[in-house]
Symmetry: C2
Subunit: 473 residues, 2 copies
């Protein structure tokens, strides 16, 4: 049964499993102890550090193991900010970072610091010029810039080398969150701090990496202890660390050939989805991207329902839509990109995915989307483009303007009601949608772009907002 | 080769190994995902939580898994303090807690809170009346009290139920660090928060427990995420969690019988060491104690050298002496107890330790101590009691008072020089030792008690301190 959620977590790599079992025998003791068992554990830990440092491209004494990628981000951000608190207390990060960065930014603000977001284009990409502008010639009081190497939801790769040059010119350290890319691609040059997470490359859960370049000011967050250079408190899980390092090496050895193969499958999905599914849009940078992640959104579809429909066909995928995974807001990534969030599906292919599985997925997708839309009574005709006019014909009466009250209705209902109403006004007429679901702010403009209608903007309303759309065709 | 450092870490329990391997297949996905792989991981996590909660004696929704016992303490202390910050910002803890508690206390002070230590008797035990006195009738502004169930260095069990009653009477929550006892003994009643660490009971590294009773105010430290009730951020290591829970159950099932057996071996060590080794003292409460830990100190011996001498004989033990594990100060536990720290050895027996190994250890110990003492030219004669007089005879000249300059000399040299000098004064005469090694403050009074000489106290000196001793015999 195809598992297409590799960006979330991968099963243990066979090499990781072997390394883990071998390290269980010698890696359970406290590596800080001078006795035989402690020294054996220390040898394993040192060897894993050397191996991982080589994969990362840093010195072993620059690399520490944390208990997760999230912890690596939390410690890296807090440590770099504290180390430079005399210079400034401003944290800059892209708007599409992992939520752990956003949480760290909120904690920094709560402690009296400031945080600023650097926006992205509709492909999810940061412009190096915007980083340079935010920093100015002297850094502008920034203590740290955080940018991921590639996005976890849409696969867009960031221009890390250019961003690093901008940071270096302003004298501000750059933290690169390499969680999604480290297994796949060489780490771009120029980082000051780098973080990653082992279960993204077939290592076990419970292991993150935090590398801090020599010379970067760093004050480990308290409470600390003497383990991992004071940067990651608590007893080390050495068998897991050994497995993580071995798996990183093995994964990267296979990555180039596998990336070329998966890139072909991802290209097929990117090309096929708009053709096979009416009113669907592929999101993320079309060229500068990870090899294995592709994301698309489907008008008039509920992301949660679509996940379940695909799961019923045996496909494990992920979604950044609202109403999924106990959240009621669309993913902050899709939000920052300003793209359609409803009916969102992320496909992230594990190494070894057979082409036939992708073919099966593409074969099953149209019916899955159609089923979800039908359950919502969505206005999609067979050719996907005739719906509005068909509605208009059925409605009979035509008014110059129509107000649709979607207050209290969750995504994707406001967009569905907009699509129904557009046929009730003449070309040139205006539909106003009253909605309080937060996804409407993203999805109504996206609907206009997809359906080639004119988005006139939103205005405040007593509850929620009023979104105005002019019918163009 | 005997491993007697169980209180530091244990090899993986066979049940933990089996559980780990079984959980590897189904426990690698993100348990927050709704797909099949995610749901399988969630089922394993839920089952592990139920099992561990039953072992702890709490509800599953009161229990969260952390990435170590240290992290459980850090999060538990910070969360409880933040949850009660309107009531008060004072943290009270015993003077013999795990260093993670002391680190959390320092971090709390750095953030503007206050911390206070509750002292222990020479056996390492907290008096419940002292807790009650520190809290007063209304808690005295205390937000939290931290007391371990049993000490990790000397094995002393704390009167947790009585301390809990004192806390309850004052309306202050009690955090019990059960890291050393949870595998061995029922958890004493009355705790508000409880922490533990899986690698102490044959679980893997990388898993701690934090239980917070319903109704206890708790504000998780930031940055947090949505995992583990917001109390432990980062991707869960589910196979390790499953192994930890299975191991706790298996360890406890064997604990009662095994504790009775090991208690006999520990009693044998406690009884034998003072008989076999001249000028050695067993430390820790003689009765109210863990079954498997015994600690003693040896006059005129360097703890680090003694560890190595025992390691050369194949025995892996631990030490709270200064000059071990890269620290230059004696263990804060021995310090708080006011007992001899030099030549300190902790023996902590793993389950299944054969009696013959303990016999071999007792047979090897006297020569190991004697070898270390000989290397330091320590004044110990064959019967261990005649040294001072023999020295006096050889010295010939006798002065009414002598000053020994041990400035710049590390432990155990100041005590060795004191022992040599005592024979140079007549009975009633005074030896003054100038020393700047911090262990001298602990070890000179302890020497006086062991050798039945009179400790007159210390006074400040330009460097270090002057310790005065009157010869009584």
């Amino acid at each position: 049964m195809p598992y297409f959620d590799a960006a979330s977590s991968l099963p243990l790599h066979p090499v990781a499993r072997q390394a883990f079992l071998a390290a269980l025998e010698d890696g359970w003791a406290d590596p800080a102890r001078p006795h035989r068992e402690g020294r054996r554990a220390r040898l394993l830990l040192d060897a894993a550090r050397e191996s991982a440092a080589e994969s990362v491209g840093c010195r072993p004494d620059e690399l520490t193991f944390t208990s997760s990628g999230t912890r690596a981000l939390h410690a890296g951000i807090a440590g770099a900010l504290a180390g430079r608190s005399r210079v400034g207390r401003r944290l800059l990060h892209s708007a599409v970072e992992h939520s752990a960065v956003l949480h760290a930014a909120r904690a920094h603000e709560a402690a009296g610091g400031t945080a600023g977001e650097i926006g992205v284009d509709s492909g999810g990409r940061v412009a190096p010029g915007e980083v340079a502008a935010a920093l100015g010639a002297d850094g502008g009081g920034a203590a740290l810039v955080c940018v991921q190497s590639a996005n976890h939801e849409v696969g867009t790769a960031q221009p890390v080398a250019e961003i690093a040059a901008a940071c270096a010119a302003a004298g501000v350290p750059l933290l690169v969150d390499a969680a999604q890319s480290l297994g796949w691609e060489p780490v771009p040059a120029g980082w000051s701090l780098l973080t990653a997470s082992a279960h993204k490359w077939g290592g076990p859960g419970g292991v993150g990496l935090l590398a801090v370049r020599k010379g970067v000011r760093f004050a480990p967050p308290a409470p600390a202890d003497e383990r991992e250079s004071g940067r990651s408190p608590g007893f080390e899980n050495i068998p897991a660390i050994v497995a993580a390092a071995a798996s990183l090496r093995a994964f990267r050895a296979e990555a180039e050939a596998e990336a070329a193969r998966l890139r072909g499958q991802v290209d097929l999905i990117r090309e096929s989805v708009p053709r096979l599914v009416p009113d669907a849009a592929v999101v993320g940078d079309p060229v500068r991207r990870l090899p294995h992640i592709v994301t698309f959104s489907c008008l008039y579809a509920d992301g949660e329902a679509l996940l379940h429909a695909l799961a019923a066909e045996g496909f494990a995928v992920s979604s950044g839509s609202s109403c999924t995974s106990s959240t009621l807001t669309p993913s902050h990534v899709l939000n920052a990109m300003g793209v359609l969030s409803e009916g969102n599906v992320r496909v992230s292919l594990p190494p070894g995915t057979p082409a036939a599985e992708v073919d099966r997925f593409l074969a099953a997708l149209p019916a899955a989307v159609a089923g979800v839309r039908a359950a919502l009574d969505a206005p999609v005709a067979a050719d996907g483009r005739a719906a509005a006019k068909a509605d208009a014909g059925e409605a009979g009466a035509v008014a110059a303007s129509v107000v649709v009250d979607s207050l209290g209705r969750p995504c994707p209902v406001p967009v569905i009601e907009l699509a129904r109403a557009i046929g009730k006004v003449p070309v040139g007429g205006v539909v106003t949608v009253l909605a309080d679901d937060v996804a409407a702010r993203l999805d109504i403009p996206a609907w206009c772009a997809l359906r080639e209608q004119e988005y006139l903007g939103e205005s405040p309303a007593p509850v929620g907002a009023a979104y105005r759309v002019r019918r163009l065709s």
